[in-house]
Amino acid sequence: MTAVAVSELDLRQIEQFLYREARYADEHDYDAWEALWTDDALYWVPAGADAVDPTSQMSVIYDNRSRISTRLKQLRTGKRHSQSPPSSLRRVISNVEVLSVEALSGEVLSGEVLSGEVPDGQVPGGEVPGVEMRGGGGAETIVGANFMLAESRARGTEIWAGRTTYRLRVVDGEIRLAYKKVLLVNCDQPLPTLAFLI
């Protein structure tokens, strides 16, 4: 057996954060949801095969912090027709696992290396002087979870499901979201409109 992951974040704290993020998305609380993200955020919903380069291949969503802001501003206008009226949403998150803890330099402090989870050039920068920084402000906790989501709107009810990878960081004593990748089980199939926050 490998050693227990070294992290300042315990699983209960992590779960509480994931549930809160999910609730803000379900309830279209755009301000609260936006405040969870770090400045170097990345929000990615791949299309088709998992291992594509999102800078050269199409994705369903590939938002940096600026585009997350644009997406939310559009939703807040109330004239984003595909979310006006907004979908009624509820999601369940399960199988929450801490996959690894990495220093911001990319050094793995515990757990497995998740090569390929962050595209080239998107790894958050910052000089990190080694293992003293493990956990907390100098590290990212990489978390995997499964989800199922029911969406209801006039068009009908859709069931969405998939695997989410999160990168969590502690900033000023709060857990923040630096990266969220949502790999839909049916990402290689035709998808209906996905205009809510998944």
Binding site: A47, S56, Q57, M58, T77, H81, S82, P190, P192, A195
Partner: protein, 426 residues
């Protein structure tokens, strides 16, 4: 078995298209009738030229990619001599699907059901246990093939009819718009190799085809994103715009935005940037095109709907795939221009933001298509009006009908051609 037998399509009276399609209005049943959809498959999708795929998706000998036209599952292949083939994904033995992979490279396809094997040209190579048939291992069977396949600047089209107009005749004036797109590549080559988004849409395919060059809707459907980003696109489709809507004939149409871009005269404005931000690209274009480069860089990319299923929207390409009278799939990707790496990543990024299921533009278009499909099911007033701009249409120097940026000239052209095809003899 039930005692009642439903009338077959052959025994039902044919719809009277001359009544359903008039010069200033079309009937709602065109979007809701199962019978009309069945006739469209026969008379449009399985007869006229339809877009299938792009040569850049199968660059090497042996490459293949799965494609679709309506409900038909196709395999586009490149043989060892570089020739393109479009096969129907169906075994000649028991009609199983021969190929399950989305793409790959192979000289042959082996049906997983009984092991029948075909060359990537569709020819039957062999089958297991050859003594089970007379003829010493030879059978006069092959995979189905789209009989006519032709391409233009790598855009591969097919026709399920053995005879008919050539691709050049079908494209007509629309060919010039594909030329304009290809010319934006310093190497003169478009590539569609950035992968595809597939957007399931509960609407009749014609609502999409009509919307692609409808310059009336953007200010309303897309006001949310235009207002947030301060996009200059809104002005292109305003009542004051100098852009024109052009009926290119054969059901093709365009929103010609060049008059607006010429007014500004700024290279790369069409791409929402300046030449200073893409210096290598503009330098290469000037090297290749000399003085003609200015015009190319100012006028930018076309916004053209090629009947019935290919839409080139400046930096995106869409393919419409009807599945049933009330459902279709929109396939979308970013244009990639060979020799223009500075532009290509931007085009992918901008396209991801705009198109597909979560696109900040297309999700709202699609919401409109789906609401429109519910609307056409309402009993009254039966008709969809097509009169906008009819009183101010003009004929341009090429003899093509044009209207203003927000006029329904394109839709009238679409329906005129549609009616011709649907009224044709079986």
């Amino acid at each position: 078995m039930t005692a009642t037998v439903r009338g077959t399509a052959a025994s039902m009276p044919r719809p009277d298209y001359a009544t359903l399609i008039q010069s200033d209005r079309v009937h709602g049943s065109l979007y809701t009738s199962e019978q009309i959809f069945a006739e469209e498959l026969e008379r449009i999708w399985y007869r006229t030229w339809v877009y299938i795929g792009h040569a850049s998706e199968v660059p090497e000998p042996g490459d293949y990619v799965r494609k679709s036209v309506g409900p038909q599952d196709l395999i586009m292949t490149r043989d060892r001599d570089g020739g393109l083939h479009v096969l129907l994904n169906r075994c000649a033995h028991r009609a199983n699907l021969v190929c399950e992979d989305a793409r790959g490279n192979s000289k042959s396809f082996r049906c997983p059901y009984h092991g029948w094997t075909y060359r990537n040209t569709g020819e039957l190579i062999g089958y297991p246990y050859r003594q089970g048939y007379e003829g010493n291992g030879k059978l006069d069977l092959a995979m189905g093939r789209v009989p006519r396949v032709d391409s233009y600047h790598g855009f591969v089209f097919g026709s399920f009819a053995a005879d008919g107009p050539t691709l050049a005749e079908h494209l007509g004036a629309a060919a010039g718009e594909i030329d304009r797109l290809a010319r934006l590549s310093p190497d003169g080559q478009v590539q569609l190799n950035a992968g595809w988004l597939k957007h399931r849409t509960r609407a009749n395919w014609k609502l999409l085809a009509e919307n692609e060059t409808d310059g009336y809707h953007p200010q309303f459907v897309h006001s949310s994103i235009f207002s947030v980003t301060g996009s200059p696109i809104a002005a292109l489709y305003s009542d004051k715009s100098s852009a024109v809507t052009r009926n290119l004939g054969n059901g093709h149409s365009e929103n010609d935005l060049r008059p607006e871009f010429r007014n500004f005269g700024e290279p790369m404005r069409w791409f929402g940037t300046t030449q200073a931000r893409v210096p290598d690209y503009v330098a290469r274009m000037r090297e290749v095109h000399g003085e003609a480069a200015e015009q190319i860089l100012v006028e930018g990319a076309p916004h053209v709907m090629i009947f019935p299923n290919l839409f080139i929207a400046e930096i995106q390409v869409f393919v419409i795939q009807p599945l049933s009278v009330g459902e279709c799939i929109q396939h979308s990707t970013a244009v990639q221009l060979k020799g223009a790496p500075e532009l290509n990543k931007r085009m992918v990024s901008q396209s991801i933001g705009s198109v597909g299921p979560a696109g900040m533009l297309l999700a709202d278009d699609t919401e409109m298509y789906e609401r429109n499909q519910r609307g056409v099911a309402m009993l009254q007033p039966e008709w969809l009006d097509l009169r906008r701009g009819l009183h101010r249409e003009r004929v341009d120097e090429r003899g093509l009908t044009i209207g203003t940026a927000t006029d329904e000239t394109a839709m009238r052209g679409f329906w005129s051609h549609y009616r011709t095809l649907m009224e044709a003899a079986a």
